[in-house]
C-alpha cells in the first residue's frame, strides 16, 4: 500500500507527471490501490467495451470474448493493491489483455473457428459500418464481415495481436513491443507480415469491388 503512494509522490515531487502524461486513469488506479472501489468501477466502465471488442476481434466468438474479458478485469482487480505505474494505464491493461488472449489461444479451444465464423449467431452483433444499406448490400456486407473475420483469425497469435493493437487501438510500435515483450523491429516485422497475409486474403479476393 505504501508503494503506490511512494510512486505517486515520487513522480509529482520531481515534476515527472509528464512521464505518465496527464494519465487520470493512473490516478484512478492508484486510488483503487488505496481502497477506492469506485475508482475501479470508473475504469471498468471506461474500458469494458474496448476490451470486449479487442477480445472479440481476436476470437470472433462473443462467449469467449466476454469470458476472457472478465478474466482480464479480474486480473486488473487483483493487481490493484500492488499496482505500480510503469506505463500508461491503457498500455498496461492491453498488455494484460494480450497475454490473456494469447494464453486462451494456446489452450487450443478454437479449432472450430471456421464453423463459428460461418455461424450467423456467433458473428451477430458485429456489423459493418455501412450496414444501413438495402438487403443486397446487407448480404454482401455480412459476407465481407465473415471473410474479414476469417482472415484475421487465420493469422498466428502474435501477428493477430500486433495488428489488432495497431489498427484498432492505435498503439505505437514501442508500446506494442512493451505489451508483447518484443523489440520495435520485431513488432514492425509482425505488422508487415500480418498486413501482407491479410492483403492476400482480402484485397486480392475483393479486387476492384472494394
Amino acid at each position: 500500500m505504501i508503494q503506490p503512494f511512494f510512486f505517486e509522490t515520487f513522480f509529482k515531487s520531481r515534476g515527472l507527471n509528464e512521464v505518465m502524461g496527464t494519465d487520470s486513469e493512473i490516478e484512478l488506479m492508484l486510488r483503487f490501490s488505496k481502497g477506492d472501489e469506485n475508482a475501479f468501477r470508473t475504469l471498468f466502465l471506461a474500458y469494458k467495451k474496448k476490451i470486449v471488442n479487442y477480445c472479440y476481434r481476436f476470437f470472433f466468438n462473443q462467449d469467449t470474448a466476454e469470458e476472457v474479458s472478465q478474466e482480464i478485469f479480474l486480473k486488473v482487480y487483483k493487481a490493484g493493491p500492488r499496482y505500480t505505474p510503469t506505463a500508461s494505464f491503457s498500455t498496461w491493461i492491453f498488455k494484460i489483455a494480450t497475454h490473456a488472449c494469447l494464453n486462451e489461444l494456446r489452450r487450443d479451444k478454437h479449432k472450430s473457428f471456421i464453423r463459428s465464423i460461418d455461424s450467423d449467431e456467433e458473428m451477430g452483433g458485429m456489423e459493418l459500418a455501412d450496414d444501413n444499406a438495402g438487403p443486397h448490400a446487407r448480404i454482401e456486407a455480412s459476407e465481407r464481415k465473415k471473410r474479414i473475420g476469417k482472415a484475421l483469425r487465420s493469422l498466428p497469435g502474435k501477428q493477430r495481436a500486433a495488428i489488432l493493437l495497431r489498427e484498432y487501438q492505435g498503439f505505437s510500435y514501442k508500446e506494442i513491443g512493451d505489451q508483447m515483450g518484443m523489440s520495435e523491429a520485431g513488432i514492425k516485422s509482425l505488422i508487415h507480415r500480418g498486413r501482407e497475409s491479410l492483403r492476400n486474403m482480402l484485397y486480392d479476393e475483393f479486387g476492384e469491388d472494394s
Binding site: R57, Q70, F73, L74, A129, I148, K188, I191, R199, Y203
Partner: protein, 156 residues
C-alpha cells in the same frame, strides 16, 4: 516475377507514423514516383479500410453482473485466509482496525481480570483480619472479665 523496390519495407512504418519527419517526407515523395511502392501502398491502405469497416459489438447486458459476482466470489474466498494475502482483500481497511481493537479489548480484559483476582485475595485477607477484630470487639466484655477475674473454674 513481382517487381520489388528496397523502399517497400518502409511503407508500413510510414503508414503508421513511425518514421522520423525527414524520412516520412522522403518516403512520401518516393511513393508518388515509384509504381511498385505506389501499388504496395494502395493495397495496404485498402486492407486497412477493410479492417476498419468492422464496427464494434455491444457488450451483453449480463456482463457486469457476472463480473461482479466473480469479484464477490474472490473476496469471499479471501476472508477465511488469515495469513498470506488476506490483507490484500478489499476488506483490509475495515478488518485491520477491527482486529486491532479486538486485540486491545482482549488485552485490557485480561489485565483487569488478573488485577481483580489480586484485589479479591487482598479483600479476603482484609476481611479475615476484620473478622478477627470483629470477634474481639464482639466479645470484649467477656475478654475484659477474664482479664479481671481469670478464667472460670472449670476452664482453669
Amino acid at each position: 516475377m513481382k517487381p520489388t523496390c528496397s523502399w517497400t519495407e518502409l511503407i508500413n512504418p510510414y503508414m503508421d507514423g513511425e518514421l522520423p519527419e525527414e524520412k516520412t517526407r522522403l518516403v512520401k515523395n518516393h511513393i508518388t514516383g515509384c509504381a511498385t511502392c505506389s501499388a504496395e501502398f494502395e493495397s495496404l491502405e485498402k486492407t486497412r479500410t477493410f479492417l476498419h469497416s468492422l464496427d464494434e459489438v455491444d457488450v451483453r447486458t449480463d456482463f457486469d453482473r457476472k463480473f461482479w459476482k466473480k469479484v464477490d466470489d474472490l473476496e469471499n474466498r479471501k476472508i477465511p485466509v488469515i495469513f498470506g494475502g488476506w490483507l490484500a482483500g478489499r476488506w483490509r481497511h475495515g478488518l485491520t482496525p477491527l482486529l486491532a481493537t479486538l486485540i486491545l479489548i482482549l488485552g485490557i480484559s485480561y489485565v483487569n481480570h488478573s488485577r481483580n483476582n489480586s484485589f479479591k485475595n487482598a479483600m479476603f485477607m482484609d476481611q479475615m483480619d476484620l473478622f478477627a477484630d470483629y470477634d474481639v470487639v464482639n466479645n470484649l466484655d467477656v475478654l475484659e472479665q477474664i482479664d479481671r477475674e481469670g478464667l472460670p473454674g472449670d476452664l482453669r
